[in-house]
Point group: C2
Chain length 124, copies 2
DNA sequence: TAATAGAATTAGAATCATTCTTATAGATCG
DNA sequence: CGATCTATAAGAATGATTCTAATTCTATTA
């Protein structure tokens, strides 16, 4: 656990949003101007593999990273692009039952139109 | 519907696997040597947006493309990387009920260890 | 059939995110 | 204190994808 890793992790913890590597790089540079992009990725990848954070891919957008509180799913508004975390505790078991096999894990992204966008009729 | 698009679509239809843009490019070049990578992407993107085919992202692998028969989910073996299509007709309704909102669509990738790999104890 | 407009294609340059490489710096341990 | 190990910095390299400009094809109209 190096200073750099600590910094990156604290940035993720303090954010309530999903951050791209680039955004993390920008924020990290404010506190530690010498930090390198490679260090960001090294640490994000290491923490992702260790299960400390989560890498999240959404079509057409750079990968985002995310602190892990509990395993969770994502709700993506197709109009404004906002990502909301959701938790469907029963789903994992439901999937095992439906598939008839043990599963390791799953990734679920649900597309919808968020309440804000549903009320604003104008599309982006 | 140009010759190029027809060719690309027929390649996808004839394949029982998920193909990367690169694999499609290679196969298309066999039949139409002058075809350009940009044409592959133009057409894949156009067909993806039109809902004729499906773009599929799996962490650490180039995006794959896939003919659409019916909307479907993916089962990914974490050891050998094999992707299997699955269909969980009830899930969409279940999600709407669980979330209490109408949804547009969803993407689900389930990680597991396939039967073959489960029997071969050696990890990849 | 010839001319023209519009759309799709080609080729390759450009871009973006990400990874790799190499040299350096920092920490750890005897 | 010196040796070794690991992580970092910097920037080059890579790979997938998109963009751009020029060209070709297609359909339409005269």
């Amino acid at each position: 656990m190096t200073k750099q890793r600590e910094l990156i992790l604290s940035i993720l913890k303090q954010s309530d949003r999903h951050l791209t590597a680039d955004e993390i790089f920008f924020l990290a540079k404010l506190k530690m101007p010498s930090i390198a992009m490679a260090t960001i990725y090294n640490n994000l990848n290491a923490m992702n593999e260790a299960g400390v954070i989560n890498r999240l891919h959404i079509d057409g957008v750079a990968d985002c990273f995310d602190k892990i509180t509990e395993p969770h799913d994502h709700l993506l508004c197709d109009r404004c692009g906002k990502i909301t975390d959701i938790r469907l505790p029963a789903l994992s078991g439901d999937l095992e039952r439906a598939l008839g096999t043990e599963i390791e894990d799953y990734e679920l992204t649900v597309h919808y139109v968020c309440p804000d966008c549903r009320h604003n009729t104008k599309r982006r």
